[in-house]
Symmetry: C2
DNA sequence: GTCTATATCCTGATAGAC
DNA sequence: GTCTATCAGGATATAGAC
């Protein structure tokens, strides 16, 4: 994410425009089944669970719910996932990985910290709208993971933090940004994007594309230098 | 919230510095019992439920959990609240009312839109840290309310939105702010503050007071005019 | 790999004594 | 207003036939 322009053959908008939950679960180059190395039935179960978890929450969702949405008997789920919590973990892990990949790719493809910031915060916000179901699971069902699974996901969350903080530091170095507290600003930027998953529904008037543009712009406003500082940089 | 300076005898920091969950549940002038018109036992139950709901979520909390934390038998709860969901509603309603009151008072006590914005976003953020338990219930357990209770709370949420949007419009009118999309900016500002309840715990290094200062400052950065616009206002 | 059937335990809420 | 005891149903997960 520091080598701006080096990977610019990867257009930053392509990975951000996928619109199905299935796409959000799939790794970038997956091919064998729809989602990497798992069976189609397992994918059907994950999609059913994602739907239910996002709609009602982890603990309000029953294994019978998931099974019947996936067209299976209650017992059929356990051939593919050893427990309901493991199913949550799989969704959470894949969702975090996908979100992180989007950020890393968008940052790498940008030609400047300003472009990178717009791309990552705009793209992250759009992702939380387009995939608001998976986004809710990733962001709001986290605490229902068992400790070992929580720890695994925490590592991915730190990577996401680091992408944002890295772009901010780069922009401070080039003078494009004036940020007094990089970790706090990174956190606030992520908060704006994460919260999209809370309020967004397909009924809402704003489109994911509009959200991308608006939040990319708001992100830049939050870090741009003020009048005095801008003047000193320009002189 | 438009009569800046009219209520400046009410210091804006007083309502923001209360630090117990009990204080967050109490209406500003309540006196009879600790929390308005309800019995001490009902308050004990609400505190126990708030603790449990914030820690584990509504559906993962059992009525036996709540009862034992409140020092009651499982049946004892039902004398004071007719169902677990009604208990959630009471917490949610009181929490929303308290948060709204803080915003309204902080906005009214400020001498300018700039001060008002710092006070409401800083104060709202601080509230979500100091009362992160009630904050989580208010912000993240909302969907587990029954439809009629959700509707009641939705009205309060709209009032909160309106306070923020009103301050933004006032600042645009005076030229202190340059905001292209008031509803979107109000939403993003609220997102920053709301998300504090998700990540804050007492273990975290930032204090609620530091969060208030940081987020008040970030809020202003998001709306301040750019160089060109600032110059035209000053000339 | 999927089913039917079921074990085992837990859930929200209530009945009725004190 | 609080208790003990309990209802009636639902929860996750497993056993064993096909």
């Amino acid at each position: 994410m520091r080598a701006y322009g080096m990977l610019s053959t990867v257009p930053s908008t392509t990975p951000l425009s996928e619109s199905t939950l299935l796409a959000a679960l799939a790794p970038a180059g997956g091919r064998q089944s729809a989602v990497g190395d798992v069976s189609d039935t397992a994918v059907r179960i994950m999609l059913a669970a994602a739907d239910a978890f996002a709609q009602r929450g982890f603990h309000a969702t029953t294994t019978r719910d998931i099974a019947s949405r996936a067209g299976l008997s209650p017992a059929g789920v356990y051939v593919h996932f050893t427990s309901k919590e493991v199913l949550l973990f799989e969704l959470s892990r894949r969702g975090h990985e996908r979100a992180r990949d989007l950020l890393v790719e968008a940052a790498a493809a940008a030609d400047s910290p300003t472009e990178a910031l717009r791309a990552i915060i705009g793209g992250f916000s759009r992702w939380h709208a387009e995939h608001y179901e998976l986004g809710r699971i990733v962001q709001f069902e986290f605490r229902h993971l068992r400790p070992e699974h929580r720890d695994a996901v925490l590592g991915l969350r730190k990577e996401i933090d680091q992408v944002v903080a890295g772009v901010l530091r780069d922009g401070v170095d080039t003078g494009e940004f004036a940020v007094t507290d990089v970790p706090a600003t990174a956190l606030a930027l992520l908060s704006m994007a994460i919260d999209v998953a809370r309020w967004y529904t397909p009924d809402v008037r704003r489109t994911p594309a509009a959200i991308e543009a608006t939040y990319g712009e708001l992100a830049f406003r939050l870090v741009r230098p003020g009048e005095a500082l801008a003047a000193s940089v320009l002189s």
